[in-house]
Symmetry: C2
Subunit: 159 residues, 2 copies
């Protein structure tokens, strides 16, 4: 590929987030951290990712403030990777990915998410932070709209 194309021009927080997690490994690494994986070779063993790419992704995650390195021994110096506050906030995103995959994809290993407060296997539903009701694409509106959409609407109105 020619130099990874910038997507800043989109002026969208979705684009900025995709700039961080938009590849086939980064979110899997984050998933592993939530599962309790913390060390280079453990990531490598679990994901079977090539080592140079793993080193690069971990660096990127540290750079973006998702992970931080924490030393766990001095001789020889060794460190492990832990989530930052920002990294912990990726949990909700991961729950959403999980929900979608659980509903539409399948896997050989069935993993269950259990809500310990109510004791049931469950999944997430997006709720309104203000009133608690379920958020759907029918009761949400985003503003401002995209220019291309406005253009298209204008064009169709004048026909």
């Amino acid at each position: 590929m020619p130099a990874k194309k910038s997507i800043e021009h989109l002026d969208c927080v979705v684009a900025s987030t995709i700039d961080i997690i938009g590849d086939r490994w980064t979110l899997l690494i984050v998933r592993d951290v939530f599962f309790g994986v913390r060390r280079f070779d453990d990531f490598q063993r679990d994901l079977q990712i090539s080592r140079n790419v793993l080193a690069d992704r971990l660096q990127q995650l540290v750079t973006h403030g998702i992970l931080k390195t924490v030393p766990y021994q001095d001789n020889p110096p060794r460190h492990e990777y832990r989530l930052t506050d920002k990294g912990r906030d990726l949990f909700d995103l991961l729950l959403a990915v999980w929900r979608f995959g659980d509903k539409w994809e399948h896997s050989n290993v069935e993993r269950v998410v259990i809500h310990e407060d109510c004791g049931h296997a469950t999944h997430m539903i997006p709720a309104c932070a203000h009133c608690g009701a379920e958020l759907t694409r029918h009761n949400l509106r985003v503003e401002p709209q995209l220019d291309v959409v406005l253009d298209r609407q204008r064009q169709e109105a004048t026909q």
Copy 2:
């Protein structure tokens, strides 16, 4: 690169989902569809993605059952891209991405999500599908755990 590496061996619905949306363009295309973009040139104008990659991604999305093509004129034959039921279920995932980006990233264009039922600008909180309470990484447990994590725990227990 050597043939895009398969991540099936991970046996995880997160991995399967990342197999679909895990690159820098796919989720942006889906975002645009939710915004009302439907046509090839509109995607291209908005995202500034190269045309060959756009053609490939749209094909992939159709193959994975996220989008479907709907003809809108006969002469010359033209079609637009619409979400399938599966595609519509990516809305929750997109809300989670939005929430994360809204909290931690920033953009030149401020976009607001308004919940029309309660009238407030809002964001999503993951709620338990069973009891409605908020899901956090403290009140959730996933089973079974990863093998590497179990190995590590065993090893630390015998020290």
